[in-house]
């Protein structure tokens, strides 16, 4: 209890000062990198000055090429994540609330889940071809499926029996109970699952582009590297990082809005 109060009281001023300290940290690192490149401490072919990278990035931002790459990556990410959610939420809720269903698929889940999703890249290429959206979507959906599945499963099981019983006492029918009680409670968990899956989905999208050569940011990075356009390579890496950061921030904000009612955001591991 005391810990929460302490953090709450300190919250705002720390946020403010930490912003400036963080900014200072970023500036120091950028200046050091610039200095290293300018003084030729490391080969400037491989480590161009930060200013040159930013210049290249500025140029690229004006091209359709960069935005097309961002678009392709987002497409694979979005379609795969959507497919994963569309499958994982109903399945998770079903096996979470109906034990025979859970027991029937448990072994299959235990067998499939540990397969590193990237191991399926060759199989996906074989089935869907190298430069197809379905290849990406298959890989992304396979990887993004599991966190959402398990969150949906926990979410359904976490509806407190007390709440269910009092709802029954107030005369809510099974349908109303599902919509008014089970669904919102599960949604809280699913939101967390989708956020975790979003990061995984982006990794898989970029991997598919990088390894197989499907259009998108991953391919742009490796093409820039092999054609020795090193500043462009760094610029694309920066754009990929920014995209990852923005998606995560958007999901976090969405989750916070969605779950403002949820008692004490569950203790969650930072992944």
């Amino acid at each position: 209890m005391a810990g929460v109060a302490r953090a709450g009281r300190r919250g705002i001023p720390v946020l403010r000062s930490s912003f400036w300290v963080g900014l200072a940290g970023v500036l120091v690192v950028l200046i050091v990198l610039e200095g290293v490149a300018r003084l030729e401490l490391l080969s400037s072919t491989w480590f161009p000055p930060v200013t040159v990278v930013f210049e290249t990035l500025g140029d690229l931002l004006g091209t359709t090429e960069l935005w097309a790459n961002v678009g392709w990556t987002l497409q694979g990410w979005g379609a795969g994540l959507a497919l994963a959610a569309a499958l994982a939420i109903p399945i998770g809720m079903l096996i979470g609330s109906f034990e025979p269903a859970y027991r029937a698929v448990r072994v299959v889940i235990e067998f499939l889940r540990p397969i590193p999703s990237v191991a399926l890249i060759p199989a996906a290429v074989l089935l869907f071809g190298t430069n197809s959206l379905s290849m990406k979507v298959f890989l992304v959906a396979f990887a993004a499926f599991w966190p959402i599945l398990f969150q949906a499963l926990y979410g359904v099981q976490d509806v407190s029996p007390g709440v269910k019983e009092s709802a029954r006492a107030y005369g809510l029918g099974p349908g109303a109970r599902f919509v008014r009680i089970v669904l919102p409670s599960t949604l809280a968990y699913v939101a967390t699952g989708v956020r975790i899956s979003s990061a995984i989905a982006l990794i898989l999208t970029v991997t598919a582009e990088l390894v197989v050569g499907a259009d998108g940011l991953g391919r742009a990075i490796i093409v820039a590297q092999t054609s020795v356009q090193i500043p462009a390579m760094y610029a694309y890496i920066a754009v990929t990082g920014a995209l990852g950061w923005a998606l995560n921030a958007a999901f976090q904000a969405g989750e916070a809005r969605l779950l403002h009612w949820h008692p004490a955001q569950r203790e969650e591991v930072r992944a």
């Binding site: 072994v107 299959v108 067998f111 397969i115 991997t207 591991v269």
Partner: protein
């Protein structure tokens, strides 16, 4: 869990569940075997063929040529993640200002899909050697450990630290015997996430730039259209993933027994 498990039909019900648990996967396997035999699909060879290739490949010289290099890279990269993540996490958790200064960079690198750094790794370390793969595993998989360690250190009860200080326990003693054990549950949670990321990065880095390793082998088999080989490799990666996780969970159970039980007891 189920409300329907009354005393009368409890036993039959449990037996039914067990039967479901065994028969459904078995039926799926049988169905696949029958279908694969009948369809003679090029992409989905019969199970027997995959099993045969699996035994031929992984119990012969491929074991030392591909499997061991992969495991070596994984072990070294992951070990480095643990050492760097916990070491840096302890320092950053203790010094708030340093932590704030590096926070934006850490957030950025965490959000960056680590595979995007593979081309950079190739530039710096070259494509062939292990160092590139180990580097990629480090920069990709260190974040869950680092951030969880920072959180863990921050969350250490001040009462515990004050008690230790009141009894003249020195700074190093407090870190070793109070801060680290108290933060351990968070560290371990981070290490678990980190392990699965490390396996992914091991596979991808071998696919992109390597001349051996299981990741390399799987992709190469697909390019040679050696489909049974490819599936045998995928199954092996699944087994590696499964065993790594199993090993982890077993270790965690032993180390964090107090944590699991104290949570139950405090309710």
């Amino acid at each position: 869990m189920t409300a329907g498990g009354g005393a009368v039909r409890g036993r039959t019900y449990q037996a039914l569940l067990l039967a479901l648990e065994i028969t459904v996967p078995a039926l799926l396997l049988v169905a696949y075997a029958i279908w694969a035999a009948a369809a003679e699909s090029f992409y989905f060879p019969p199970l027997g063929e995959i099993g045969e290739r699996f035994a031929e490949l992984w119990f012969a010289e491929r074991l030392t040529d591909d499997v061991l290099p992969s495991l070596r890279r994984l072990a070294m990269g992951y070990l480095l993640c643990v050492v760097v993540g916990i070491g840096a996490g302890l320092v950053l958790g203790a010094f708030r200002l340093v932590q704030q200064a590096v926070q934006p960079f850490a957030e950025f690198l965490r959000a960056l899909p680590a595979v995007a750094l593979i081309p950079f790794g190739i530039l710096v370390f070259g494509a062939r050697g292990d160092s590139m793969k180990i580097f990629i595993i480090l920069v990709g998989a260190v974040w869950p450990i680092l951030l969880n360690t920072i959180d863990g250190v921050r969350g250490v009860d001040r009462g515990l630290l004050e008690m230790a200080r009141a009894y003249s326990v020195g700074r190093w003693g407090r870190i070793r015997d109070v801060v680290i054990p108290a933060a351990l549950p968070r560290m371990v949670a981070g290490m678990r996430t980190s392990l699965s990321i490390a396996i992914i990065l091991m596979v991808v880095s071998e696919m992109v730039a390597s001349s051996n390793g299981v990741g390399y082998f799987v992709l190469e088999s697909q390019r040679r259209f050696a489909i049974a080989d490819m599936w045998a490799g995928i199954v092996l990666l699944g087994i590696i993933g499964y065993l790594a996780n199993l090993l982890f969970v077993q270790t965690e159970r032993r180390i964090l027994r107090w944590h699991r039980e104290s949570k139950g007891a405090s309710l």
